[in-house]
Amino acid sequence: MAELAAIRDGLGNNLATISGLRVAEEVIDNPQPPVAMIALSSIDYHTDMRFGAKYNFTVQVIVGRASERHAQRTLDLYVNPAGASSVKAGVESNRTLGGVVSDVVCESMPNVGAITLNDQTYLAADFLVAVYV
């Protein structure tokens, strides 16, 4: 049975394969972009007759000040479905998180836009990640 901390570690390790992207395995108060923050959104229990579950994570990638053209161009690379900077490819770079879970899928990127953190406006994108244990 996979522990949540081990799942976070595994997702963090996968995201760390993206060069230049900082990774926070929990939501932090003062993120320094570009950074990916891993947040547990929900858990679907009882996916089988024993301890099966689907963990739903949101990986929020904050790329920089919303007004910066560089931030927008960086985000363009992160949202690609493939490539060295692709968050989807990074999340799925080790589909079992080193043998901790059954499978990991980056399902979608439903939100992209400006967010406000510490009175600053940043450009960010949310990636929904499903982890099957």
Partner: protein, 137 residues
């Protein structure tokens, strides 16, 4: 024990616990209807019970890992196996969690299934052969 939500039906196949790969389990026991309607039936049909039969239906999550359920079934099509199911989320036979045992014919296996983005699953419905028994201890 009263009503319950099915969250932990214990399922074994040929002695191996496969519950962790099962998302749905169903055992059906039937008796054939034998028509005995005659001129004395007062305009109604009459039936009696005939031969009994059964089936075991299971929904699985595909797993080809070591000991995975997909490996278990891939060489068994056409063979006879033994399925046990413990009702009411039980892990051992008792009066409140009866254990049913059925000998079944593995008549199908779907080694590849699933649309892109879906969890890979497969479903089977095995006919029983011989009696379906149950134990309460």
């Amino acid at each position: 024990m009263g009503k319950f939500v099915a969250t932990g039906t214990t399922v074994t196949f040929n002695g191996s616990d496969i519950s962790g790969a099962v998302a749905r389990a169903e055992l059906v026991i039937n008796a054939a209807e034998v028509d005995v309607t005659d001129f004395g039936s007062s305009g109604w049909t009459e039936v009696i019970g005939g031969l009994k039969s059964g089936s075991v239906s299971l929904d699985f999550h595909h797993d080809y890992g070591t000991g995975g359920v997909s490996r278990t079934f891939q060489d068994l099509v056409g063979t006879i196996g033994t399925v046990t199911l413990i009702a009411a989320n039980g892990t051992a036979a008792s009066s409140a969690t009866p254990k049913y045992t059925a000998t079944v014919l593995v008549n199908s296996f779907t080694p590849i299934a699933g649309a892109v983005g879906d969890l890979a699953t497969f479903s089977v419905t095995f006919p029983t052969t011989g009696a379906v028994t149950y134990a309460t201890a």
